[in-house]
Symmetry: C2
Subunit: 181 residues, 2 copies
């Protein structure tokens, strides 16, 4: 049940229409909680029905018309409740690790190329995060509420750093592995 709360957070940061939210979920919040426009519209409907948000201005009844939402007090309260509530961390769920485990049984043919591709993708993501860090969090001047946002960004940076290192390591092992087993 995280998507509604991701949307509430985004709307508190800035009231938006469905499409604007969709675009923001392609970056920013989307870096650690992605969503498609179908999910977002469905969830906006539910949130409005529950009285957590409301459509902003003059009535725009239907399709094709832009409709912006803002968070109501009940929505803010629900988000605060959810943020403070205890939640268990989810175990890792990663396909590449599964593929490596499978490769230990059926052989490593063809895997190397995709490992290299993933390494490149993670390096690119890491560079993007570091660019954001340079731009939004120059050293030595974090405003107090920016501290938390910087913390989140650093998690992204550290995770991508982990992947690049691990994949590099994996490719080294592959270099030393006998062909196709």
């Amino acid at each position: 049940m995280s998507l509604p709360h991701a949307i509430l957070t985004a709307l508190l940061e800035r009231p938006s229409s469905g499409l604007e939210l969709t675009r923001r979920f392609d970056k920013s919040i989307g870096y650690f909680w992605s969503a498609t426009h179908q999910q977002i519209y469905r969830e906006l409907g539910r949130l409005e029905a529950e009285g957590y948000i409301r459509a902003l201005p003059a009535e725009q009844p239907a399709r094709g018309q832009k409709k912006s939402y803002e968070v109501l007090p009940a929505g803010r309260a629900e988000l605060a409740r959810w943020t403070a509530a205890s939640q268990d961390p989810k175990p890792i769920r990663d396909v590449m690790l599964l593929r490596l485990r499978a490769a230990a049984v059926v052989g490593t043919d063809g895997l190397q190329a995709d490992l290299r591709r993933h390494l490149e993708l993670h390096q690119r993501q890491l560079a993007e995060y570091e660019e954001i860090q340079r731009r939004d969090f120059p050293p030595g001047k974090d405003a107090p509420e920016d501290r938390l946002r910087h913390l989140v960004l650093r998690a992204g940076i550290d995770l991508e750093t982990f992947w690049t290192q691990w994949l590099t390591h994996a490719l080294q092992e592959f270099g030393e592995l006998p062909e196709g087993s």
Copy 2:
């Protein structure tokens, strides 16, 4: 579409019944791809229908009777195909990061306790992985097919290490943050 391939891998490592698989998915493979017994039985049915696996011995027709499965050549081929096929990495999807981002808007009240709890859980998981490493991969004698399994374990160790460090860092920031904002 990863669960069937996780099951094929597990069955190749050792033919098993549904319940045995369920137990093995509580550790080992389950460390990076978990599954409940309901999922496993459903998937075993599909895999058998597709001719990737077959029930092992004398016919045991129904409920209450143990039923073991082994992988057929077609199943092994499918697993090899899947392992080698190019697949995009999934973006991060983490509730704690979302909660921190929300806390930047609605305040950090109550979050600190759960951060501490998560830190403990990740430390415990890390210790468990390191114990497995000591037991199964003593330094200096990795057999070639064990190399890949060790690589997977090291990913788990490094990820838990990342989380413990990041959570420690986050708690330090919280110590310096003004109360409840």
